[in-house]
Structure formats: structure tokens, C-alpha cells
């Protein structure tokens, strides 16, 4: 029975024998998806208009004379939809044969192989053998500029790429040229996609191997990649991404849907800045400078030693100054703040690179490549850090570098600082991932992990807390900063316990800053959660 009386804005229909109630206006395809039934399709994409031209998503609707394109047909009350009927399956088999008519079947050398919707659908429902004896049409390969290569012969003419550029990027650099079977995607002659800041998304949305990334070309097979949900570390927008990794290295970044942040998209700036995550020559073991010289230690020793020195400094009432990094997680930053406070408090500063301009995505206006090019400047500020330095993330450390008390640096590589940094400090702790002249001077050099090697959360420009997960193995003895600092804290403060896991470390943020109060990892959810009472990022540099 229809539930319309009770919920006037819903319709109830039956799809493959299962009843489902959806809001009015929901398409049959979406209704089926809500049942976990993915109807095959190419041209439909949830972030764009649906031209209903690929003809794969046709389903049988009882009483309708023809099969209906489920991507544009609104679900009707009482409708009986069959996606697996003989008619629907026969149609899909037929359409798939048309798709293969001129396809080169070059899967062995195609980057898309393994994540190709043509491969998948044909494997599931296609004919065993194609019947065509006719010569195939050949378009060849075309460099579209930017990071995009086009293999015309693999194209299924779904026009997702054209519509993305028109509707979402609103920079219509792609078009369908010619018509009929001579139709082919192209740019304006030699004018390519170069310079269009979101063009890389066309590779993601291409359901087949027609549009591929030059950067990723022949780098890895899709099935060899591990996918880890993460947050783009390259600006304060906080686009949801997946890190695709192999051989303990990030191979590419792909956007992950989050309708509150980035929909299905990400910018090319963010997408192409991942090599730093794979940088080698990492700090791999705690190194302590002591009376017996400088030497690597294991963690229990190092913690014991550093804690003792911290307590010593506290006793001597040495003032504290800290440098944080907006690349560090909320948990890391909260732990830093807790340590600083346990030593009697002190200034925490951070530096972040900022671009001159924002780069908005016109078709999804929430998504903007923000001026602040770090993922957690907002988190740093909420946790008490103040931005210093210039837009190149240099300078501003004059007071810290000559500070005579305790200096703690978390994550900032100090690459603009000389070997004299911290030379006057009573105690200089450096928690980071790479060695630099200024870092090397530290009394304790403690190796920590990057965001890609740990679990945690960032707070984006608008105060949205979003989680990420570890994708890479930490090098050597590197540990998350929250763990290292947590261990130190437990030693220097009687009532503090070292957090057992990252979720507990996050709760510490709530204890330190009312903005985080009440938030917990369990309740952040897949779209992230806004902090309480969001405030603007300092200096208007969101």
C-alpha cells in the first residue's frame, strides 16, 4: 500500500520485487541505488545534467510501451520496475555490443583496465563474442593539454567530460565534433585544456579509458592500488579524497564525494601535489643531543629523557614558545597545546603558504581552491596558534629562533631558518619528518608521521572537522605526533594519561577548545562536522 497519505512528499514503488519509498522527484536510477541496485550507466553522473543518451540504464516499467531511461524517469507511486527482466538484460547486451563495435579492445595497455565500466559491464552482461566483421573506425590519440590524454577509440561518447567543462567548470573547452559515428570529443583545434584549473576531473569521470592522466600514464594497474579515504592536504578547502597507493607510495589523488565540501570534484592544484608525501630521507628514529653526544635512541628512552628535560625546564620556570604546522592534525595540535600548557603556557605560532587568489569552481560554488594552502590552519588557530610570517610561509620566527626558554617545533621544516635557530634555547624539541639545518640543531629530534601515515582529522576553512586514515607505513620509528606528545604529557603531568587511540587524542581538543566540545570521531560522519561557533581564519586568508 502506498504511504502517500502519511508522507505526501514521497512515492513508493517496487524495483525488482523490493519495495522502496523515496522522495518525490527521485529518479528510478537513484531509487534503485538506494536499494543497493546499481543500474549500469555511462552518461548519467550525479553531479551533472543527464542527457539519457548512453541507453544503458533503460529499465522495464510495467505498463510502459518502451523501456525507460531510469536516469531521467522520476519514480512514480505504485510503479513496478524491472531492471533484470529479459527485455532489460537483452537490451543491455545489445547496447554493449554496439559499444564494442569500434572499440580497440586494448585493455592490456589501457590505464583504465580494472576500473573500466565498459570492461565491467561487458564482463557481466555482454555477449561472449562480438559479431562484427567490419573494419573498425580509428581516431587515434590526442593530447588535450594539461594532464589529459585522449584515446578516441576507447570513447563511449557519454559526453560527461563535455558537460563537466560546460556545466561544472563553466569553461567549455570540450565539445563533440562531427556527428553520427564520426562524432568525437575534441577541443578547439590546438587549444587544449591547459590552464583550466579543474580540468583534471574529466579523467575521473570518464567511465572508460578515453581520458587518462599523463601523470599516471602506465604507472600502475588499477587492481594493484590501495584506496584510502583522506583529505586533500593542499589547501584549506578540505576536499575529500582517496589516496591511491602502491609500493608504499602515493600514486595519485582522486576526489571522494562529499556534497558539503567538494561534491565529486577536486582542483588540479591539489590533485598534482602529492610527491612531497612520498619524499624519502625521512627522520626514522629519535635523536637526542646529550652530554654523551648525539645519538639515536629507542622511544622509551627518548620519552624518558625528553620528559625529564622538560620537567627540569618547568622547574626552572623557563618560558615556552612553540611553532606548530597547519599540516598537523587536530590531534597533534591539541597534544602540542596540552604540552605547552603543562609547562606553564606560552605562545604557539604557525606559518602557512597562501596563494594570491582563490580559484572557485563555478558550477559548485562551495568548492574553492582556497588562498590558504594548508589543510589545517583553522584547526591550528582554534587550538591557540597564531599565524606569523609571510605568504610564502617564511619569516616571523625572530622571537622563537632566539628564545632562551623552551622551544618546541611541530612539523614546520624551518627551511628558511639557519643552523642558529634555537641556539639560545634552554631546551629545543623538534618533532618533524625531515632533517634541515635548523631542525638538526634540536636537543631532541623526534620523528613523526605525515597525515598519510596516520589516522586523524583536519579542520577546514569553515570549521568542518573531517577524518582521514593511514595509507602508508610509517618509516622506521616515526610515530604520530599526538602519540609522542601524549606520552610526554603523561610523564610531565600527573593527571594526564596517554591517549590509547586517536579518537581519545581528538577528545583532548574538546577539552582545550570549546569549538571542538561535544565532537567525537564516532559522530563526525562521512560529511564531516562543523565546529561550534566557527570563526574566520585570521588575515582573511581562508
Amino acid at each position: 500500500m502506498s504511504q502517500n497519505g502519511e508522507f505526501p512528499d514521497t512515492v513508493t514503488l517496487t524495483i525488482d520485487g523490493r519495495e522502496v519509498t523515496v522522495p518525490k522527484g527521485t529518479t528510478i536510477l537513484q531509487a534503485a541505488e538506494s536499494l543497493g541496485n546499481r543500474i549500469p550507466h555511462y552518461c548519467y553522473h550525479p553531479g551533472m545534467s543527464a542527457p539519457a543518451q548512453c541507453r544503458l540504464c533503460l529499465v522495464e516499467v510495467e505498463g510502459a510501451p518502451k523501456l525507460s531511461p531510469s536516469c531521467v524517469s522520476a519514480a512514480q507511486d505504485g510503479q513496478v520496475v524491472l531492471t533484470e527482466s529479459e527485455k532489460a538484460k537483452g537490451m543491455r547486451e545489445g547496447v554493449l555490443e554496439f559499444y564494442l563495435k569500434n572499440h580497440p579492445l586494448d585493455c592490456p595497455i589501457c590505464d583504465q583496465s580494472g576500473e573500466c565500466k565498459l570492461q565491467d559491464y561487458v564482463h557481466e552482461e555482454g555477449r561472449k563474442h562480438g559479431r562484427s566483421r567490419e573494419p573498425k573506425r580509428v581516431f587515434g590519440r590526442d593530447d588535450f593539454g594539461g594532464d589529459v590524454l585522449f584515446y578516441g577509440d576507447r570513447c563511449v561518447m557519454c559526453t560527461r567530460c563535455v558537460r563537466f567543462m560546460e556545466e561544472v567548470a563553466q569553461d567549455p573547452l570540450l565539445t563533440v565534433v562531427e556527428r553520427g559515428s564520426r562524432s568525437v570529443i575534441d577541443t578547439f583545434f590546438e587549444e587544449g585544456l591547459t590552464g583550466s584549473p579543474y580540468a583534471g576531473n574529466v579523467v575521473d569521470i570518464c567511465p572508460v579509458g578515453a581520458l587518462v592522466s599523463k601523470d599516471f600514464l602506465h604507472k600502475a594497474r588499477a587492481w594493484d592500488l590501495d584506496h584510502t579515504p583522506s583529505i586533500c592536504p593542499n589547501c584549506s578547502q578540505g576536499c575529500n579524497i582517496d589516496l591511491h597507493t602502491r609500493d608504499d607510495a602515493v600514486q595519485r589523488l582522486k576526489p571522494r564525494p562529499n556534497l558539503d565540501v567538494n561534491a565529486y570534484w577536486m582542483c588540479d592544484y591539489g590533485r598534482h601535489r602529492y610527491e612531497w608525501i612520498n619524499r624519502r630521507d625521512r627522520l626514522e628514529a629519535p635523536v637526542l643531543r646529550g652530554e654523551d653526544g648525539t645519538r639515536a635512541r629507542d622511544w622509551p628512552d627518548a620519552i624518558e629523557d625528553v620528559a625529564a628535560r622538560l620537567m627540569e625546564a618547568r622547574e626552572a620556570e623557563k618560558p615556552v614558545r612553540a611553532v606548530a604546522s597547519p599540516h598537523a592534525s587536530n590531534e597533534d595540535l591539541a597534544a602540542l597545546r596540552a604540552v605547552v600548557e603543562s609547562l606553564g603556557g606560552g605562545d604557539i605560532v604557525y606559518r602557512s603558504r597562501r596563494a594570491e587568489d582563490e580559484v572557485p569552481l563555478p558550477g559548485f560554488s562551495q568548492l574553492v581552491r582556497r588562498r590558504d594552502l594548508t589543510p589545517n590552519a583553522r584547526g591550528a588557530e582554534i587550538l591557540g596558534a597564531t599565524r606569523v610570517g609571510d605568504d610564502g610561509a617564511t619569516g616571523g620566527l625572530e622571537e622563537v629562533s632566539t628564545h632562551e626558554g623552551v622551544v618546541i617545533v611541530l612539523g614546520d621544516e624551518l627551511s628558511d631558518q639557519g643552523a642558529s635557530f634555537g641556539q639560545d634555547a634552554a631546551l629545543y624539541l623538534y618533532l618533524g619528518s625531515h632533517s634541515t639545518p635548523a631542525a638538526d640543531r634540536a636537543d631532541a629530534l623526534l620523528p613523526v608521521t605525515t597525515f598519510a601515515e596516520q589516522e586523524g582529522s583536519f579542520t577546514n576553512f569553515e570549521g568542518r572537522v573531517q577524518r582521514f586514515w593511514p595509507a602508508l607505513r610509517p618509516p622506521g620509528a616515526a610515530r604520530p605526533a599526538w602519540m609522542v606528545l601524549g606520552a610526554l604529557l603523561a610523564r610531565v603531568r600527573e593527571d594526564a594519561r596517554r591517549p590509547a587511540h586517536v579518537a581519545a587524542a581528538f577528545l583532548r581538543a574538546g577539552e582545550l577548545a570549546p569549538e571542538f566540545e561535544g565532537l567525537a570521531f564516532e559522530t563526525i560522519g562521512t560529511r564531516g562536522a562543523l565546529v561550534n561557533d566557527p570563526v574566520a581564519l585570521s588575515g582573511g586568508g581562508s
Binding site: 569553461d171 567549455p172 570540450l174 565539445t175 563533440v176 556527428r179 577541443t187 583545434f189 587549444e191
Partner: protein
């Protein structure tokens, strides 16, 4: 294979059929009367009434590939065209038509200029231009000869007429003759099926064209050039 034949009429033109649908002898109109020559070409370069401005006569015998887009009366015409559509984009097809009228073909540069004028992307204009067969993507001869070989004409020898045009112009399909006069193309049904073979030469239809008519027809065109 034998085909229906029609008697030829001698007249003020050197080939059998001047472009009306058949002549049985009882049909005593001149070519001008049949074509409506009095009417055709009466729309001035500036487009006349705005309601007529979006049509495209062959106004100019000589094409100038570097002609400006658009100046003088043609600018007026373009402005009139713009008034006929609620969105600028609606003027795209007529604007491309006018550009081809002046320049003879639609080059990438022309596409870019038209795109600029209408606030459209170059790629978009390329996509639209390439969809329609009447926009010449490269220069064609002074006389663009399009021969219908679709079913009604084909039944009565359209293929042979096409062959004859290629032979007598010494060209390959779609290529322009050495003297720059002729480009011969195959065309889909011209909607003049009753009097095969239908041939379109620039703006004019020639109906009832047989293989034997081809040399005289070409001579007639050459004589027009003088």
C-alpha cells in the same frame, strides 16, 4: 538499365532543365518565373526586414576569405539577426551562414571570431559548425556542385550523374578542380525527388539532370565566369 525519359525543351538556356520540376511542353514558364528570380536576391545585404535577415542568399559571387566580420550593411544585418532571438546563441547558425557567405568557408579563425561576437566558447562553436554539413570546413570551388544520390535519384541514375560530374570536372569527390571552379560532392536527399537527378549548384537547384546534360551544364557555368 533503362529509365523513364523526358523530352528536352530548347530554350534560353543551354541545358535541358532549368530547375523547375519537369517540363512536359505544357509548362511554359521561363526559368526566372520558375525560380522566382524576381523574388530571389531581393533581400538586400543589410537583411531587409529583420524577419528576413536570418536567411542566407548567395548574395556575393566573389568570396573574400579575409572579409571582416561584419562591416557595413553586413554589420546591420548581423545586428538585425540578433534582435530575432531571445538569446544571443540563437543567432549562431545565421551568423555562421553570413560569415560563410562573405568568406566562402568557416575556418577555425572564423569560428573563433563568431564565438567572440556571440559570447560563446570556441570549442562550442566548433562543435556546432561541425554538426551541419552546409558549413564548408575548407575552401570550395567557385561552383559547389552537390549531386543527390539518395534513393529517388539513385533509382533513376544519380550515381551515374555524380560520376559524370567528377569525370567532366576532372576532380575527386570533395576536391576542387585545378582552375578553382568546381568542387563536386555527394549530397543527401535534396527534397526534389520527383525530378531526378537533383543537383544543387551553389544556391540553385537543377532538376532532371541526366548524364548527358552534364557537359553542357558545366560549360554554362564556365561561361558565367566569362
Amino acid at each position: 538499365m533503362s529509365r523513364p525519359t523526358r523530352s528536352s525543351s530548347s530554350g534560353d538556356i543551354p541545358f535541358r532543365n532549368p530547375g523547375w520540376a519537369g517540363n512536359t511542353g505544357e509548362f511554359d514558364l521561363s526559368e526566372a518565373e520558375v525560380r522566382g528570380t524576381e523574388y530571389v536576391g531581393r533581400i538586400p545585404a543589410d537583411g531587409g526586414h529583420p524577419g528576413a535577415s536570418a536567411t542566407r542568399p548567395y548574395m556575393l559571387e566573389e568570396k573574400e576569405p579575409s572579409a571582416p566580420l561584419f562591416e557595413g550593411p553586413f554589420r546591420e544585418r548581423f545586428e538585425k539577426i540578433l534582435t530575432r532571438y531571445p538569446e544571443k546563441q540563437g543567432a549562431l547558425l545565421p551568423a555562421l551562414g553570413l560569415a560563410q557567405e562573405l568568406r566562402g568557408h568557416i575556418s577555425p579563425e572564423t569560428m573563433a571570431e563568431v564565438a567572440e561576437m556571440l559570447g560563446l566558447s570556441e570549442a562550442y562553436v566548433r562543435g556546432v559548425t561541425s554538426f551541419y554539413t552546409m558549413y564548408n570546413k575548407r575552401p570550395v570551388g567557385r561552383f559547389l556542385i552537390q549531386v543527390c544520390t539518395n534513393i529517388s535519384c539513385n533509382l533513376c541514375g544519380g550515381d551515374e550523374v555524380l560520376e559524370a560530374f567528377l569525370e567532366h570536372t576532372g576532380t575527386e569527390l570533395g576536391e576542387t578542380s585545378q582552375d578553382g571552379l568546381f568542387t563536386v560532392m555527394e549530397v543527401e536527399c535534396l527534397a526534389a525527388c520527383g525530378f531526378p537527378t537533383a543537383v544543387q549548384i551553389n544556391s540553385k537547384y537543377f532538376e532532371n539532370v541526366s548524364v548527358d546534360d552534364v557537359p553542357a551544364l558545366l560549360d554554362h557555368l564556365r561561361s558565367e565566369v566569362g
